[in-house]
């Protein structure tokens, strides 16, 4: 696949714009998955897929043929997602002042399942996880997602985030420590 990707890149750079379609088709799902995990929103994730492939096309001349195209576009997508997360965190800070009822964030569970208590508990745990993740910094959250959910190595994470390997490791450690602190009250229920 990599050799094939490389020949497609060469074809695109030689003027065959449509060849790029093969790369988009091959890598869109992976890019969507990581974008969704970082931004947690389907519409934003889809926009990030478009943005990543557009930026990828624009920078294709800087793509080094000894790298894998999949890793390269993945890195671009993570950066696009990080930018998006950074932007929405700023927006969220503005909105925060207007929210009078912090209880709005609690989940009202309809008793539709066979075991309403279990459904409620499971949703509460899910919400708590989500909120704990939102309290991490963008770098910590992304580093944790890449390590814990995407199973990327620390050196890959460092490469993707453009930071030193030790900083990537520290970001993962801090994320785990913060998440454990936040989720400690749930330990008895899980």
């Amino acid at each position: 696949m990599d050799g094939n990707d490389h020949s497609i890149v060469r074809a695109v750079l030689a003027g065959d714009k449509d060849a790029y379609g093969a790369l988009v088709r091959a890598h869109s799902t992976t890019v969507f998955r990581v974008a969704f995990r970082i931004v947690g929103n389907e519409a934003d994730a889809e926009e990030i897929v478009q943005e990543a492939f557009l930026r990828g096309y624009q920078r294709l001349e800087s793509f080094e043929l000894r790298s894998k195209f999949g890793t390269w576009i993945y890195r671009i997508a993570v950066n696009c997602a990080l930018n998006r997360v950074g932007k929405s965190e700023v927006d969220a800070e503005y909105r925060h002042g207007e929210e009078n009822d912090p209880e709005q964030k609690t989940v009202q569970v309809a008793a539709t399942g066979a075991d309403p208590e279990r459904v409620l508990l499971s949703r509460e745990i899910g919400t708590a996880h989500e909120q704990a993740m939102q309290r991490l910094t963008a770098t910590e959250r992304t580093a944790f997602i890449l390590r814990h959910m995407e199973d990327r190595s620390m050196s890959d994470i460092a490469d993707v985030l453009g930071i030193a390997p030790n900083s990537a490791k520290q970001a993962v450690f801090r994320a785990v420590q913060k998440l454990r602190r936040e989720l400690a009250p749930l330990r008895g229920n899980a």
């Binding site: 959910m149 900083s167 993962v172």
Partner: protein
């Protein structure tokens, strides 16, 4: 051996090489550490990846069809009759003409001819230089944007990394700011000047604490500067594209 701390346990969980090579052996022998590790494992296993909504087999095609109209084909390298690209042939011809002009001008019209050659070369160089400067400036703005985004979310643990990046950017930022002032571009010069103050503040603080980072963010309005940088990025990107009509894509 002393008990393993949380970081060492996390490193073990993710299979990272632990700093202490005996850590895994210690874990097998120490009941207390084994208990802590089991608790960590349970916590982390409880954090499941958010399941991305499934994409159909046609998803890639949909992305491509949406993207395709925005892309402009890269310039296909054209070949002349002798297998030399037209660009190379054109360059060679231009060089030959310039040499001939220089020779004739030098011989018969020395002073004026020299001036003409200088002007011609100067014009070509200026265009090439402008293109290079725009590309490099775009790169500088990209790196700066990343630093500012990181700064918005940084805590004290990120300070060493931020400081090293700020020091790297500070020197180049000074050059760009001075060039922008000389070139009479007050918008760029002003933004780079405000940026320089933030970079200097971050780079030169010997003990950058969380409170210092908060102060930089609020007092120096890094959010506003980030916005300015993004505006400049799109402007320089447009200018860079305008200098090369044949390559890249339009948004």
């Amino acid at each position: 051996m002393k008990h393993l701390n949380e970081e060492e346990l996390i490193a073990l969980y993710y299979g990272e090489p632990a700093e202490d090579p005996d850590a895994r052996r210690h874990l097998a022998q120490c009941e207390e550490c084994a208990g802590s590790y089991a608790e960590l494992k349970q916590d982390l296993e409880g954090i499941q990846a958010a399941e991305a909504p499934p994409r159909g087999v046609e998803y890639g095609e949909q992305v491509w069809q949406a993207l395709r109209p925005s892309l402009v084909a890269y310039e296909r390298p054209r070949r002349s009759w002798f297998g030399i690209s037209w660009k190379a042939a054109g360059l060679a011809t231009a060089c030959a003409v310039l040499i001939a002009l220089g020779f004739v001008g030098g011989r018969y019209w020395e002073r004026r001819g020299t001036n003409l050659a200088k002007n011609a070369a100067g014009g070509a160089n200026a265009q090439a230089t402008q293109r290079v400067v725009l590309v490099v400036l775009t790169d500088h703005l990209d790196r700066t944007e990343r630093l500012l985004v990181a700064l918005q979310h940084a805590d004290a643990g990120d300070a060493p990394e931020l400081q090293s990046q700020a020091r790297e950017l500070l020197a180049s930022n000074r050059l760009y700011r001075a060039s922008a002032t000389e070139a009479g571009d007050p918008a760029l010069a002003g933004a780079l000047d405000r940026l320089e103050r933030v970079l200097a503040e971050v780079a030169n603080d010997p003990d950058l604490s969380e409170a210092d980072l908060d102060r930089v963010r609020t007092q120096m309005n890094t959010e506003g500067i980030l916005f300015e940088i993004r505006v400049l990025q799109s402007r320089t990107a447009d200018e860079a594209r305008a200098t090369v009509h044949t390559k890249g894509a339009t948004i």
